[in-house]
Amino acid sequence: MKYTSIKILLAAVIVLSMGCKKYLDYKPQGAVSASDLTSPTAADGLATAAYAGIANDWWDAPITSMWEYGSIRSDDAYKGGGAIGDQQQMDKYEQFYLVNSSNNGAGDFGFPGTWIRAYGAISRINNALRALNNLTDADFPERTTRIGEMHFLRGHMYFLLKDLFRNIPWFDETLTNDEIVKVPNTMSNDSLWEKIAGDFQVAINDLPETQPGQPGRANKLAAEAYLAKVRLYQAYTQDDGYNVTGIDQQKLQDVITLTDDVINSGVYALNPDFAYDFLYGYDNSPESIFAIQYSINDGTAIGGRLGMSTSLNYFAGAPQYGCCAFHVPSQNLVNAFQTDSRGLPLDSILNPTDKDFNDFYLGDNDLTPTGVTVDPRIDHTIGIQSHPFKYDAAIPYDHSWERLAGTYGGFGTMKELQLASCPCFKKLGPFYGTSVNMDVIRYDDVLLMKAEAEIKLGDANAALPLINQVRARAAQISPLVKKADGTYPSNYKIDVYKPGVNIPVWNTTTAFEALMWERRMEFAMEGYRFFDLVRWGIAAPTLNAFFAKEKTRHAFLSSAQFTHGTHEYFPIPQEQITVTNGLYTQNHGY
């Protein structure tokens, strides 16, 4: 090589190193920009992602199961777990102390995280609606149905937010990001209900009655059932001090109309066995009107889109599990399952005696055929010493499964749990998930909603067959709860209400008591209870009476106190107020 050639090489290098303008262009890999999402397939994909969005949670900040917000905040259950301070934000919720807008758990834990996740799902829904609105029915035959579904999902998420926070910012897909961050939370209580109802009304208009082969999707009947729920809540007019100030008869009438549609459709019915509502193999049964769909071995990274919102609730001391024993049924709830000689509830909800069983830890005599009589639903709901756990006679429940029995007692929760041997069950990290669906609205709820509306409309007799339908199913003693020796673990005694026979007076007062009691038995430990109490306007007296008695059984409740006018709702998360420059008005009392 000659020196001149080196110089020529150098010149070439200099020319090359000037670079070209395209050098800095770099396209992202494996992602698409918003403008690419205009096809029907893409819009449908955004709708699918919205369904996933309403189910993407775990126990830290749930948007599916409401056990943390609806069950342990009520008289149904204690927090449980490994210590009072284990998940201390829940201890604060349970005892209503130091619950404030910015001091309830680290990071996203608790209600601040639930706010973020629920609005996260709403953003998916709105993205899907924006894409669907830009198409025509000719482009995409399912367009209208999908639009209806998205409105249903949005109504569901706003209902959940409203139940928790009451005063929430409401907006739809027509707003841009810049506009959304300017929407305050000062819409009146009733207007907000109307907005939520409006979404379900669109869903009713747009959706077919059923969606064959697609049980995960919302249909018209589901939208009617949900709208009935909205109207029922709305009917109890509430002032800004959270007092129930009256009953809106028109809204109750809407409840009747809507629930009648569902009942008369013939599409839905009660399962013959109460167990099927909580058992693997009965997903999307006739009783399930809308459910969060979970799946297992579906190729996702952790081996399933499993229900993880209840995964803390498995038992620490059980060899097949190992953690974490949260959500412990209260003694008060266990007592509530007692029935009298007529097979009716022992107590009235307004005047409970809250009579204990004989023993702190129930003994053999308590709930066996020789002991006190109980509502059969107890053995579907509560783990009791030596009673079959989750319909498996080979695995009797044991108090040693509980983790802190000295503090929280020895009962176990059961409805949300599945057997470790279930094909639906998977252990993930220290926790557990199952692929069994989580019902959002069931047919029994529809029956009881209608009954409640009838009573509040003054027609106690119309409510009677509805309540009795639920009780009659409960009275069908499930063979699944039998012990290994073929006997039943408890002494069941349950009857329907028979005015003049086993109940002397059936009027709106007694019927409403019966209804409230029925809801408690039917949905015990499912996370409905606290919201029922707030709707009825009796959270403060009920819970404070509960605390007064319960602290004599469990010292950790010694200073628990519910403040009326504040604790009915969570505070607006302080972080959300800060990032919006104080846009949101804080809830009363916080």
Partner: protein, 1075 residues
Amino acid sequence: MSLNKKLMKQLLTIFMVFVALTSFAQQKIVSGTVTSKTTGQPLAGVTVHLGKSTVTTDANGKFSIPATAGETINLSFIGMNNLNYKVTESSQDINLVMEEGASELNAVVVTGYKSERKVDLTGAVSVVNLTPVKNQVVSSPMLALQGRVPGLYIQTDGSPTGANGGAPTILVRGIGTLNSTNPLYIIDGVPTTKYEDLANLNTGSISSMQVLKDASAASIYGSRAANGVIIVTTKNGSSDDKVHIQLNSSITSQTEKPWQENVLNSEQRGEALWRAAVNDGTDPNSVVDQIYKFDWNGDYNNPVLNKVIIAPFVGATNNNQPPPYDPFTGPFSATDSLEPAASTNWQDALYKPATVIANDLALSAGNSRNGVMIDLGYYHNNGLIEFTNYKRYNARVNGHISTFKDRLKIGENFQLSQTSQINSTTDVGGASTPSLALTLAPTIPLYKTDGTYGGPRGAGYSDRNNPVDMQYLNRFNTRTELVLFGNAYLDLEIVKNLVFHTSVGFDYSDALAENAALIGDEGPVRSFNSLALQDAKEFTFTWSNTLNYNLIRDKSRLNVLIGTEAIKDNINAFGASNTNFALQTADYLQLSAGSGTQTTNGSATGYRLLSQFGKLFYSYSDRYLASVTVRRDGSSRFGANNQYGIFPAFTLGWRINNEDFFKNVKNVSNLKLRAGVGTVGNQQALSNTGPLTLFQPNYGTASPTYPQWLNIGTAYDLGGLNTGTLPSGFVQVQEGNPNLKWESSTETNLGLDFGFLNETITGSFDYFIKKTKDILIPPPIPGVLGEGQNTVVNGANMNDWGWEALLSYNHRTNSGLNFNITANASHFQNKITSIPDSYRSYFVGDANHSIVGHSPQSIFGYETNGIFQTSKEAQDAPFQPGAQDGALQGAGRLRYVDLNGNDTIDVNDQTWLGNTLPKLEYGLRIDIDYKNWDFSIFGSGVAGKTGFDPTKFFNDFVDQRNNFGPGTLNAWTPQNTGSGIPALSLLNHNGEDRNSNFYYVNASYFKIRNVTIGYNLPKSIASSIKMESLRIYVMGNNLIAFKSKEYTAKDPERANTFDLWPVPTSYTFGINVNF
């Protein structure tokens, strides 16, 4: 061809203009040859100066210069002492011998695409003294610098890499931005921000290291230099026609024993729990009744504990037995899995003494034209924590040849390294094993009676796992990385004094992470096993070209540098996993052997950078120095609108001691004033996908961070089939910002370098002010905007200021005793000057306490004012929710200060509690050598620091599930009112874990980091065994810490969290041999 010729012509024309500036006088010509005293070889490029003439020597060391007798020729050459030669009548073909400079002042440092004499530096540049660090047994040369360079802050933990496999915190001049603070590394001219590229170097193969601290020095490196630049140059082949072999070998033993935290044993833990229950007014026998029972007098007013009864068994898991079940009575049948209770110190169980072996063999050969250096390294640390490991092999070959009369030099510097590491892990719930070693209940046995690992089974225990078992189950989780790093270069002297340099840099890494999640024996660990492999390949290609022109005329020296640089980076990652492996052995754990669910993943990303830059340096009479730098950087991470940033700098220097009026001041050997102002950019906060709004299909990816079981996917079982492939969709993952622009810092630096008494006392002082604007931060997203709104905005402005000082004293006595004392100190402060209101929640503070005007490292929280001594005190104080709960009715509870005076303690009673930055960081080193012996001691520390004491909560509060520290045994009780530790409580209704000044204490400390004693074998003996030299040494590291009493953690550097490995004390024996 014609194009090239034309270009060549144009270029030559340009160069001729430069060349024409140099004129040659036509007088008597004196010619000569300059050689090096050390090598005997001719020296090329020596500046020969006489009157108005200046020439340089050619490749053969020859020069000619017009001169007349009586005049003095002055020779100067970087790295050599100046030489004066008086011309005589007979002067012709003179031979001049130059000696290597004894003074550091003549040292040459690489500062930005070229070398400079240290005396000519005008920016804040620290040249690292490598002598004391070369034998440090550390996995990275960077770690050896801890405390030694003013303004360079390094924080590590005790793991082999200093950060459990990651990069340790390395800060140049503190924290100047709100995002990445990683400095830019330049290794043999190749820029990289990957710490591993530097960490893989053997300290012995490094010839020099410089830290460019201020923007005026760093701005030539532009957009990635905002956090400082660390320049490393590796050694070349020798030039003395000899072969040199150097072997450095050492063995080190590490132990964490001196730094172990105090924890309670099984009985003490019971005692504290009893006290807490009594304080709460609850029955102690119902607190953790599966673990403890208490024999006590039952009197809540005057409680007396007679005996703590520990359940003799752990593992209450019998599910088939009738009640009453009681772990105190033992197993009911042989099938029960009860294990005897223990009193385990989990620190003793988890940690073991580690052995570190470090070997470095370097071979160099060459002559004045060609050279080769081969360096082989082996480093092995067998892990302070059970079943951890770190191993590295590396090989470096540096070579160069010169040809065409030394006008062309071609060379390469390449290193291949392979590291493999098994790091500390977490339990299945995400708790780190170092933290579990403190918090796991002592009653759990390490081993069960059958020899397998014990665990927290049964009631009363936490859901955490046995940390030793976790490490055991993690034992196959090796992360191996192969890195090829280096460059090939060409230097061409186109015409005299004009050098073209082109360098092609490669940085290829292939990292394979193996994650075997095994089923353990301890208890509820996992229900199925799995194996996941994740592989990432990254290739960075850097091409830089520079033209460097030197002109010396009379007293003026001019240097012009122009260049371009193009960087292309591509990362490809993919992974696969499988589940259900029948055997859990290393051999069997291969993907295909699993019989369960298989998954795959893959991704690709990358970035591009394109830059042009230039620098002009001018010096007059070695007194006045000035430079101008401009760099223009383009990045693919920005949108087209603001793709380019321009970063200028300007510096001035004044070498006062060369002034005539200073000639008589004999005691001052060096005095230089420096001033500089420069701007640098930052884009490291940005992802490679930059400003785009993006949607992604996300079939079933769980959250990439903890918790992994949070589903964030877009697939959903619409068909209600419960299993099988699900329909899936798209979700937004990023919100774009097309208006993003460069974050930029403008820094002003004032510096003074000095040397007194012929450089016996030397030092420097730098003061800087830095203003950073348009800081790229991810703003907090209002929840209503929903998912995938993560974005980056130019959101905040920040000011930093501080100073650094270095002072060194050298003394040599005639008796052969030499000693050197070097001290360094630095101070750094920062504050946010502006931030949009809506981004305020990105920082601590609240509506009434804006972060503006405060450091981002500020502490915000409640003020405490002692402990309520009586329940009446608690009642009379402003209402403190929850404080009066429990039997003591507020006595013994922390008192919070009602700052807003509304008579209630609430969230509005928080205030600024200071910030965690130390007022002063400092280091002190003393080196002494006497005859064949050498001794050195080095320590460093911080002063004026208020820090979070991680032990405070652990030591002072009980935890029903976990273990805690002995402070709890001295907590406040009605009988022990003097205590500063609040009364124990299981309820914590007073919320005493809230952020308050209770946890921030004086965190100043000083650590003796290193003591070394070495012995050099006398030359005569060494040469008799064919060695040039042999030195043996012993060394102790991390020996003693002096700290304030308030700070309860044993190791003041184990800040904030117990997740970090404790930094061990270590002892090393080593040899340095030269052949």
